[in-house]
């Protein structure tokens, strides 16, 4: 299964990421790189069956600690 995200992200790199580099839009390029790498990491983790922790738990705890039950 982990092949699929690799193929998908390759597509993205070719058709969207590299043109950014060529157009020399450095802001866009770096923001995109950060977002892309993080989303690629999550995609790989998910496809390899690693359980990614949900941010929902901490938020719930925070809300409960502020407002009470």
């Amino acid at each position: 299964m982990f092949v699929l995200p690799i193929i998908g992200y390759t597509f993205w790199v070719i058709y969207e990421f590299i043109p950014l580099y060529k157009q020399k839009l450095w802001h866009d390029f770096w923001v995109n790189a950060v977002l892309g790498i993080s989303s690629f990491t999550i995609a790989m983790l998910l496809s390899l069956g690693v359980e990614v922790p949900s941010p929902e738990g901490p938020i719930r705890e925070l809300i409960i600690s502020i407002f009470g039950k």
Partner: protein, 384 residues
């Protein structure tokens, strides 16, 4: 470049969805067994024994549909339902099931645990009709010979639907059953089915009511009583009232066809004293007379109306008495009505409604209006 990306994205969606999605829920109609109806009995080894009626479609120039039944046991309903696959080979498809029949035994253990799965599962539907088999075990209903069609469940469903012109059995599907059993101050009812022996053949017949109190079957009402019950519940859509008249030493039987009925239940409460006022307003038509024409004049008609009113009132009062004394189950929904109209009072008495219901005073008022006399303006029989 921007314009090329959109079709590219669409293409990517296509490719990725092609590769990643197998067709998990893709199923061909011929690869599944369509369930027409279910019967639930008490099992011998396990708790539930369920029998499904499966439609068998045979191919060929003229297709004909037959049904077969499969019986299986299981610890829970779902268990039993899945166990059937081991015999049928195909997956069962529940969305088109029309009836679910419970046996007397299983119903007296508790109805909710039987239909809970049926209610929860996404493939099963809430509009399935629920029946209780009175005389025999539930699966024998499927074994009985149908009079018209080959698939018994469909026949049963048709029968339930057409009951409205008879009013001898209530209408009940799973959704309504659930709502009623969750509502405070009403005990729910389920129509009953039994096998009628005729010319050596067994015909299923839907008539009468099963009373469910606190989720358990406690008793039955026969067809006539059911009609009175539907009067109180304001569920009458049709049916026949038979009126005996003893006028001028002539014994007359008049059949009145019910056209319209409106029942008004008004709880009256002052302090601790709760009374129920029951106003029944029925419009009927004379459909059959086997006597002279005395009833066609003003006086006779009034007499007939009055007599019908009295009979109806008597019968309803006796039914209420019977229910109060024998079963003490509020199948009329008086409590629910009280709760709807006066939540304050209900909060006071709701907890021990059973006690209150037992001695609840019900004032019955009936009114019968004769609309017409069908196609004939006179009695067919000439006066003597």
């Amino acid at each position: 470049m921007k314009k090329t990306r959109i079709p590219l994205l669409a293409l990517m969606i296509l490719i990725i969805s092609t590769v990643t999605t197998g067709c998990w829920n893709y199923r061909e109609v011929d690869k599944m067994s369509i369930v027409a109806g279910v019967a639930v009995d008490k099992g011998q080894k396990d708790k539930f024994q369920i029998t499904v009626e499966i439609i068998q479609v045979s191919a060929g120039k003229d297709t004909n549909m037959t049904s077969k039944t499969i019986t299986m046991e299981g610890k829970t309903m779902f268990d039993a339902a899945r166990n059937i696959i081991s015999i049928s080979g195909k997956r069962l498809y529940w969305s088109h099931a029309k009836v679910i029949i419970l046996s007397k035994e299983i119903a007296s253990q508790g109805v909710t645990e039987v239909i809970e799965w049926y209610n929860r599962d996404s493939e099963t539907r809430e509009d399935v009709r629920i029946l209780i088999s009175k005389g025999t075990s539930a699966k024998e209903v499927f074994a009985g010979q149908g009079s018209t069609d080959d698939i018994k469940s469909f026949v049963l469903e048709e029968m339930i639907k057409n009951q409205v012109s008879l009013s001898k059995a209530p209408m009940m599907d799973i959704l309504k059953f659930n709502i009623e059993s969750k509502t405070q101050g009403i005990s729910t009812i389920i129509p009953t089915v039994n096998l009628l022996k005729k010319d050596g053949k067994m015909y299923p017949q839907i008539m009468g009511t099963a009373i469910i109190k606190n989720d358990k079957l406690v008793g039955f009402l026969d067809g006539e009583e059911t009609k009175d019950l539907t009067f109180i519940r304001d569920e009458v859509k049709g049916g026949v009232l038979i009126e005996e008249m003893q006028a001028n030493d002539v014994h007359t039987l008049v059949s009145l066809e019910i056209f319209k009925n409106k029942t008004k239940v008004t709880p009256v409460s002052d302090d601790q004293d709760i009374e129920i006022n029951l106003n029944i307003d029925t419009t009927v038509a004379i459909d059959e007379i086997n006597s002279s024409e005395t009833i066609f004049n003003e006086e006779g008609r009034r007499e007939l109306e009055e007599s019908a009113e009295n009979t109806l009132k008597e019968r309803i009062e006796s039914l209420i008495k019977k229910i109060q004394s024998e079963y003490n189950a509020d199948i009329f929904g008086f409590g629910a009505k009280l709760r709807e109209n006066d939540a304050q009072v209900w909060n006071d008495v709701g907890n021990n409604w059973d006690e209150v219901f037992k001695d609840l005073k019900v004032n019955v008022q009936t009114a019968v209006h004769i609309k017409n006399s069908a196609m004939l303006s006179k009695s067919s029989k000439e006066g003597d």
